[in-house]
């Protein structure tokens, strides 16, 4: 990709004349790129005529590193994929390993996985819509959303001892059972969260200024969403009813009663509010999971220390906060994966940015970027 570094560009206009474009580098060090993303924006006046996302600033070669580690040692690496939703990457990876090695997971572990992943979905969406709102200047909303996220992180800390890189879901189960009183606190959280979510909805998504900023911005049609491989709330906001928890049910999700949230317009507003309403659905799932859960082992007993799956390949995917997160593993029969590949929803969704941002103003660009909720740890891997 040709990366323009000139800040002023003379381009020929379709009418035969020429016009001056202003080239703005948004990122990689910029408050609203959600990490180290970079977008080269060509401006005609205040209008974006071209937005090129540049990725790779957070590339750590995780897929390559995985080839040099045992199956258990890869789990901490997956923490660092989507660092806003580590549980998902843990889980997707572990599902692939379990499929590869034919490991059955105890029921309680599955419930714990569902609970932590739905909590993680809330935490991740709070981060997503919070940061997206902060991009439009609603910093207090961001703090309120982070307050909710912090409560979840504290629950996670009690559960697994870490706040961000959990390393919780392991091949064959989870690393710890829930500590005493944890499930009650989770229930108390979901109860409080529902009230908080109503507040958040009115504070930001009901606000006239926020609606003015987000409605009609970055409209993604359902056709495009499918054609570009969008998934998660990004696709659902465009009316594509596609949720792996419903359409390729895994774990104990078939036992859960919940609704898929879809949007009608596919604009930035729908994407944001879709995330918020999904959190409320997640609360429903968590409540059901806790009521269905029984005591029992949380890890398959007698798993050897070094997993050594037979040669073969496995792919498994889950519905992460950003979309369908898949992990593809190839085993050559040794104790290390021969190849790991991650199908990253954030990467696919970020590819939509040029499509959605062009024709809008520079101010709208950050709204569009925020509404795609990219996490560059997962984009770059």
């Amino acid at each position: 990709m040709a990366v323009s570094v000139e800040s002023r560009n003379l381009v020929s206009a379709p009418d035969g004349g020429s016009r001056e474009e202003l080239v703005v580098n948004v990122g990689p060090s910029h408050p609203s790129t959600h990490g180290v993303g970079r977008v080269i924006v060509h401006l005609d006046g205040d209008i974006v005529v071209k937005a090129e996302p540049v990725i790779g600033y957070l590339h750590r070669g995780i897929e390559k590193m995985a080839e040099n580690r045992t199956y258990l040692q890869v789990v901490p690496l997956t923490d660092r994929l989507d660092y806003v939703g580590s549980m998902y990457a843990n889980w997707a990876y572990c599902r692939a390993v379990e499929r590869l090695a034919g490991i059955a997971v105890p029921e309680r572990a599955e419930y714990l996985r569902v609970i932590v992943c739905e909590l993680q979905r809330i935490a991740s969406h709070m981060m997503g819509i919070g940061a997206s709102a902060a991009d439009t200047g609603a910093f207090t909303f961001f703090i309120y959303a982070f307050d909710q996220r912090e409560r979840i992180i504290e629950l996670f800390e009690r559960l697994c001892g870490a706040r961000l890189t959990y390393n919780y879901v392991r091949p064959g189960g989870v690393s710890f059972d829930a500590p005493q009183g944890w499930t009650q606190d989770v229930l108390a959280f979901t109860k409080a969260f529902r009230a908080a979510a109503a507040d958040l909805d009115r504070l930001f998504f009901g606000n006239v200024i926020a609606r003015g900023r987000m409605k009609g911005i970055g409209v993604l049609s359902a056709d495009d969403a499918v054609a570009w491989g969008a998934s998660g709330p990004t696709a659902r906001a465009s009316g594509v009813n596609w949720d792996l928890r419903k359409h390729d049910p895994y774990s104990v999700y078939p036992r859960m009663d919940f609704d898929v949230v879809v949007g009608e317009r596919g604009d930035a507003y729908d994407r944001g509010r879709c995330r918020l309403l999904e959190c409320v659905e997640s609360c429903r799932i968590i409540d059901q999971a806790i009521s269905q859960m029984h005591p029992g082992p949380v890890r398959t007993e007698g798993l050897p220390r070094l997993l050594q799956p037979r040669p073969g390949e496995a792919y498994d995917h889950i519905e992460s906060a950003r979309g369908s997160l898949g992990v593809y593993l190839v085993s050559d029969g040794s104790v290390r994966p021969y190849r790991m590949h991650v199908r990253s929803p954030a990467f696919c969704n970020l590819a939509l940015l040029p499509l959605l941002a062009e024709g809008h103003t520079l101010s709208d660009l950050v709204v569009v970027l925020g509404s795609l909720d990219p996490v560059f740890g997962e984009v770059d891997r």
Partner: protein, 319 residues
């Protein structure tokens, strides 16, 4: 008054105003941080001084001690001077605030005009500060600021003009002296326009586009650091205090026209309340987009201000 005496008085007032602004900024920043913190369920500054009151002072000392960075490609003289060009008009605005009925520190008959016109000059400083940084974000911020501040001058001036009509004078001291309670309902729309336009004029949220952090990093002062950056901040808080004091003085007749110390207390309380409301709004609402901002100024605020003017014009013959 001789030219020398006039200059001397001017310098004295300037010094006084700078001091007032410095102190006001110190506490303004503290108050903003405290209010914002409470809104966001935080404590805010706690450690430096009682209730963290000295936090801003500590920050200022840090800022003074910081390196004063000038970008290589900047237009150096302009870049260096611009913070002061922004600060001075804001400081100057304080001298026409009606601190008592019939009295302003610098008694000029066209005080209201002075108050509206002189701070408006800071737009030049902001524009050039952004421009001289030779930074894309700063330039965009500067240009946005120019457009915004020029646009909001109009409704703000019109709303004050209605008051001047009522009082029959451009002197803020006289306006305060003439104030009576029925101005309150009469000037309600005018006050709302004045309040909103003042926020926009000061580039504060939800109209803080020139410095929109998420889009423009820090806007026109993106490349400023240390004390020069602090002067920009002082100008903003100085303007905030001046706008609140002036608003309380002319729209509420000081302390609702109450005499003596009671009036003074109510006057300051009103100004503080207005300041807090501005902070409250900033920390509650998202930011507007530039085009929305302009259309709000021209399609909503200006007609409202004109309507207010017309209303006052209608009732004037009966007074």
């Amino acid at each position: 008054m001789s030219a020398a005496a006039s200059f001397g008085w001017g310098a004295l007032y300037g010094l006084g105003a700078s001091l007032v602004i410095a102190v006001a900024a110190l506490f303004g920043v503290w108050a903003e941080r405290k209010v914002a913190a409470r809104i966001q369920m935080r404590y805010g500054p706690l450690e430096a001084g009682p209730f963290g009151l000295l936090q801003t002072l500590a920050d200022t000392i840090k800022l003074v001690l910081k390196e004063d960075v000038t970008p290589n490609s900047a237009d150096v003289p302009v870049f260096r001077i611009m913070p002061f060009l922004v600060f001075v008009p804001c400081a100057a605005a304080l001298v026409v605030v009606p601190f008592a009925a019939g009295w302003t520190p610098f008694g000029i008959e066209a005080g209201a005009l002075f108050f509206l016109a002189v701070p408006g000059m800071s737009v030049l400083g902001i524009l050039l500060a952004g421009w001289s940084s030779r930074n894309t974000y700063a330039s965009i911020g500067g240009v946005r600021a120019a457009a915004q501040m020029v646009s909001y001058e109009l409704p703000r001036s019109l709303s004050v003009l209605a008051l001047c009509l009522l009082a029959g004078s451009l002197d803020p001291g006289v306006i305060r002296a003439e104030w009576s309670w029925w101005w309150l309902p009469l000037m309600a729309i005018g006050f709302v326009v004045y309040f909103i336009a003042s926020i926009a004029e000061l580039n504060r949220g939800p109209f803080d586009l020139p410095e929109a952090e998420s889009e423009l990093v820090a806007g026109y002062f993106a490349d400023y650091s240390g004390i020069r950056w602090a002067i920009f901040m002082m100008a903003e808080y100085g303007g905030l205090v001046a706008a609140s004091l002036f608003g309380a003085g002319v729209f509420f007749g000081g302390g609702f026209g109450l005499p003596g110390p009671v009036g003074a207390v109510v006057f300051v309380a009103l100004a503080v309340a207005m300041t807090i409301c501005m902070v409250w709004a900033k920390w509650t609402f998202p930011r507007l987009r530039p085009d929305q901002l302009m259309s709000f100024a021209w399609k909503v605020l200006t007609p409202m201000a004109l309507g207010q003017l017309a209303l006052v014009g209608l009732v004037l013959p009966w007074l």
